[in-house]
């Protein structure tokens, strides 16, 4: 199973092991970690939620897209759900390819696609509140159950 949703800490090496191949000269990994500061605001922890069966299907789709675009690529992705503390690993993407340029490009493609089509959401918890983060660019936020005046007039 190269594409997984995990409830516990992700073992990075085991994700890498899935893409090792004799004809690969390069493996890239992307490790998304929980950052303490976003625009000066201090995060205490995050909670990730997934629509799990669909999320796995969409991760598989991303893998298929990559194999079609980058010849000889192997891909494995594990995304964690539940409560994550600062520096915890939320997602690991491993891509192997014969040559290194492809490994970087295909890996970058994977994270961008995750942020577009994979049904996973994060809720940020700060000292003064919490919020479901609205989209992958972190520009749209949906305050939990408490619409702001501005939202009502949108």
């Amino acid at each position: 199973m190269n594409f997984e949703i995990a409830k516990d800490a992700i073992d990075i090496q085991s994700v890498i092991d899935k893409v090792v191949q004799r004809d690969a000269g390069a493996i890239t990994t992307f490790i998304g970690t929980v950052r303490e500061l976003t625009k000066g605001k201090k995060t205490l922890y995050l909670v990730y939620e997934a629509y799990e069966p669909m999320a796995v299907k969409k991760l598989e789709q991303i893998g298929a897209e990559i194999k079609e675009r980058w010849e000889g690529a192997e891909v494995a992705i594990t995304h964690r759900v539940g409560k994550l503390d600062i520096t915890d690993v939320a997602v690991v993407i491993a891509v192997s390819t014969p040559h290194r340029a492809d490994a970087y490009e295909a890996n970058r493609y994977a994270i961008e696609r995750i942020k577009e089509i994979v049904p996973i959401w994060k809720k940020e918890h700060w000292e003064d509140g919490q919020e479901w983060i609205g989209n992958q660019l972190e520009t749209v936020a949906y305050p939990t159950g408490k619409p702001e005046e501005a939202d009502l007039n949108e």
Binding site: G32, Y48, E49, A50, Y51, P53, M54, A55, K57, H79, A90, V91, I111, I114, K115, E116, I117, V118, P119, I120, W121, K122, K123, W132, I133, G134, N135, Q136, E138, V140, Y142, T144, G145, P147, D151, L152, E154
Partner: protein, 77 residues
């Protein structure tokens, strides 16, 4: 009957993880409007819809037994 799944802020607004209702013959758009009124949900416009775990356009007609999920803008990664 159809199962309707809510996630993220929609789950908080609905107060439910899922509901059951009969949406057979309705389009995705019609169902959205119905649910938005019933649960006083805002911003369903920016929410995508999945039928049986695959994204579906607003004019797709729902069949009996289809599982519908409302998918707010995602923020994984």
């Amino acid at each position: 009957m159809n199962k309707i799944l809510f996630f993220a802020h929609l789950r908080d607004e609905a107060g439910e993880e899922s509901i059951s209702l009969d949406a057979e013959g309705k389009t995705v758009e019609e169902l959205k409007q119905m649910v938005a009124e019933q649960y006083q949900m805002k911003r369903l416009d920016s929410v995508m819809t999945a039928i049986n775990e695959e994204f579906a356009p607003g004019d797709e007609v729902i069949k009996a037994g289809d599982v519908i999920a409302f998918i707010p803008p995602v923020s994984g990664g």
